[in-house]
Symmetry: C2
């Protein structure tokens, strides 16, 4: 007997599948103001784990957290010419406060380079004050005309790092370090998402940056999602805000800066990189609940066994949830945990207590990532599961890597590139054959250059370095 599908199958309607999964797994809902979202406890628990993982890696680089105001004087936004051009169409503007019209309207921060520089200019005096390494966890608002939960929302949560350095080289290296040691490492090792590191073309760069480093991931429909970016800001904001330091030899020079961010968009990436027709599949190292121990039916011996196993698994360092809601049909609960993507389900019912071998009974172990289901002696599980955490974590990453490799083709013409993207894949084309003019033509066909990479997969130092490849795709 075939299962009744709980979600529209991906192959039938991918966007609808996404929307249904996000709602039914209780990750998020649309907010009342256009494009805003409510992140529900299950979704927020995943975000908290992302925050903890990123925050620790950020702090290891010597960065400290701080907090800058939500409201920015409108005039700040206009000080850096490219920045204002890039962000003006997306601003939310506060015109009234405390019952009166404000003398100067304030914008709700879309990002904080401007207000951060106002303070860096006060705090930095000499080379001794550098590098200045700051991060903040905050909400930002960018008005969104075609909103989509997690992927494009008018308000989202993120961390934004802002640093100031004495030299161009130090700033460049720091932006690269965050890109590699914080973002790429976290996304690969914890999110289990294969990411391609590269640099953005001039067209795709952050408004006000000299260079933008990006990490691009292929979703299950073959489209690309930008997972996080790290910008070399050069001296653009320093000049606009007069952020100057006295060098070791007594000269007055503008500082060199970086900024970098990662957002609640990563939750959307998890869904589209790892989800299947039954729901989400969470990487075991990320999952707030790694194991759910379910009582299939509810007499006391079963419940006692469930609680005992949960306690033993916790001793192994696993994050365990007990589902003893035996007044809710077992099938409904099982479907719900599939939807929510909990990596391991251990089901214990009255029949599992029968123990002909004398070894303490059995349980059904369901692994969400490979989708396997097997009967196991209860006593084996505490020793077994920590290894399976590593195994299924690696499996998820491998699948995203295989998908990307299989669906990426090498092409030589703009037509071929556009066709590959339209067919649900990525194309690699020598940047020398494409160039800004070819990029413009692709854009007219809804295909963008996601990033430039060197032939060996490393991040090139210049847009026009010989041998640079452009990775092109449709994108979220």
């Amino acid at each position: 007997m075939a299962k009744t599908p709980v979600l529209t199958p991906r192959a039938q309607d991918f966007p609808r599948w996404y929307q249904e999964l996000v709602n039914k797994a209780e990750l998020a809902e649309n907010g009342p103001v256009r494009g805003t979202m409510v992140i529900r406890p299950y979704g927020y628990g995943i975000w908290e784990r992302m925050q903890a993982g990123l925050d620790a890696r950020i702090k290891e680089t010597g960065v400290q957290n701080a907090y800058f105001p939500l409201l920015i004087p409108q005039s700040y936004m206009t000080k850096e010419a490219e920045h204002v051009e890039g962000f003006s169409p997306e601003l939310a503007v506060v015109t009234h406060g405390g019952g009166k019209e404000l003398e100067e309207p304030a914008v709700v921060r879309p990002t904080s380079e401007t207000i951060v520089n106002e303070y860096f200019a006060k705090w930095v005096h000499s080379y001794r004050d550098l590098p200045l390494l700051i991060n903040q966890w905050a909400n930002v608002v960018r008005w969104e005309m075609r909103p989509r939960l997690f992927l494009r929302t008018s308000e989202f949560l993120w961390q934004e790092g802002h640093t100031a350095h004495a030299t161009y080289e130090e700033a460049r290296d720091f932006a690269a370090r965050i890109h590699r040691d914080v973002y790429a490492a976290f996304m690969t090792d914890v999110l289990a998402v294969d990411v391609v590191p590269g640099r953005k073309t001039a067209r795709e760069r952050f408004a006000g940056a000299l260079n933008t480093l990006t990490l691009e991931a292929m979703m299950d429909d073959g489209k690309a999602l930008q997972m996080g970016t790290s910008h070399e800001l050069g001296q653009n904001f320093a000049r606009a805000f007069n952020t100057v330091h006295t060098t070791r030899d007594g000269r007055r020079e503008h500082v060199w800066q970086t900024s970098w961010g990662s957002t609640t968009r990563m939750l959307g990436a998890l869904v589209m990189a790892h989800g299947d027709d039954d729901g989400l599949r969470l990487p075991p190292l990320l999952a707030p609940q790694q194991v759910v121990v379910l009582a299939v039916k509810g007499d006391e011996p079963v419940l006692a066994r469930v609680r005992e196993l949960a306690a033993r698994l916790r001793v192994e360092g696993l994050r365990v949830h007990v589902d003893d809601r035996t007044d809710v049909p077992f099938g409904r609960r099982a479907v719900d945990w599939e939807l929510k993507g909990v990596p391991f389900r251990v089901e214990i019912g009255p029949r599992d207590l029968d123990d002909p071998s004398g070894a303490g009974g059995t349980a059904t172990l369901v692994r969400r990532v490979p989708g396997t289901k097997e009967q196991r002696p209860l006593a084996e599980l505490p020793a077994l599961l920590p290894g399976l955490v590593q195994e299924d974590q690696a499996l998820l990453l491998r699948r995203t890597r295989e998908r990307r490799t299989e669906r990426t083709s090498d092409v030589r013409t703009i037509d071929e590139a556009a066709q590959a993207a339209a067919a649900g894949g990525w194309a690699r084309i020598p940047w020398a054959l494409l160039g800004p003019e070819g990029e413009r033509q692709l854009a007219a066909r809804s295909v963008t250059v996601r990033c430039l990479t060197a032939e060996d997969g490393t991040v090139p130092a210049e847009d026009d370095a010989p041998g640079n490849l452009a990775l092109v795709a449709r994108a979220y």
Copy 2:
């Protein structure tokens, strides 16, 4: 030789002392939009420790974190009559988004009862969905005419809890549990601030609540600071938003709700409860850096000793910072750590390496809380310091308790109460002798009823319970 004071003495000008301390200890600065603030890394590090401590206690009660949007449709605010009256004068209003005037203006959340209820109404169907226990860490905006860093800012950071229950009693008990087991416990045990629990009078209640529980602390100038509140909302918001559940016996009933919050204001409380003329004094259990090990001068043997001691103290579980900036004068560094209130300073110089006893050298130990300074064998410090953490933590709490006891007087008339408050103290007066009319008269003299308490110090169940005492004071 007397020290040059780094701060205006408290006795001379308390508000100025506060402002100087907050700036010079690098806790926070004013933001560019009126009443906003920049929380600097040192101040934010303390806030992160507060967040971690509160978050763990909140989660122990079964509450889960979530996130609701910053922007609330203006019409939501008007649905609960008292709520709109209370918050209207403080609202910041977004009228433009994405370059266009909005059809309906959105307010920047001053608190989230309204938008939370919009979703609770969707999520709650039957008694099985209750209790619904949610918290969020967020920023809120309340336009402030007379701003003061941490104490009254137009934007502040906080946690706001929102719960829905099946019965009045459950909601009442949950509000009391948060008040007692989360707020009072954290403030007493971690912030080392003596807090008086009580209930607010009708005049001082949260806009839309049946009852507000509060914790009030005496600052060093004798004024009161409200440290955190927990509200019984009754069915007021449930009626306004139609948040209804099916009871066990099949009736449709509105839910009973609570909300509760604590804010970055606690940073201001730390300064004014524990600070002295040399700066902040951080409770050792809260301090991001419990011990600073300073190299007095910088030859390699000293630096090696400093690093070795820091490593040994970290093994004891202490949070240790190494200050090896030997190019900055020692005196300046010592003053700076006093300002920042680090509980323990261990100073090691070349003379400390002389070791006539053969026991491994000495160090100067400076305890910030009692203000003592003594020479100690280095080898003793790892075993000694964990005990001193507890001792100085207890000492700080005791001092705030003694101050409150000494400066609280029992009075029988409104005049006496107003005089006690004007003289920099608190007064206790039987509520039966004061009443709403006496409260109004006191308010005209800038004195408020901070809370009502029972004679035995417990929280009374009603405003007019026999024997209720009103605690009156000037307040922040």
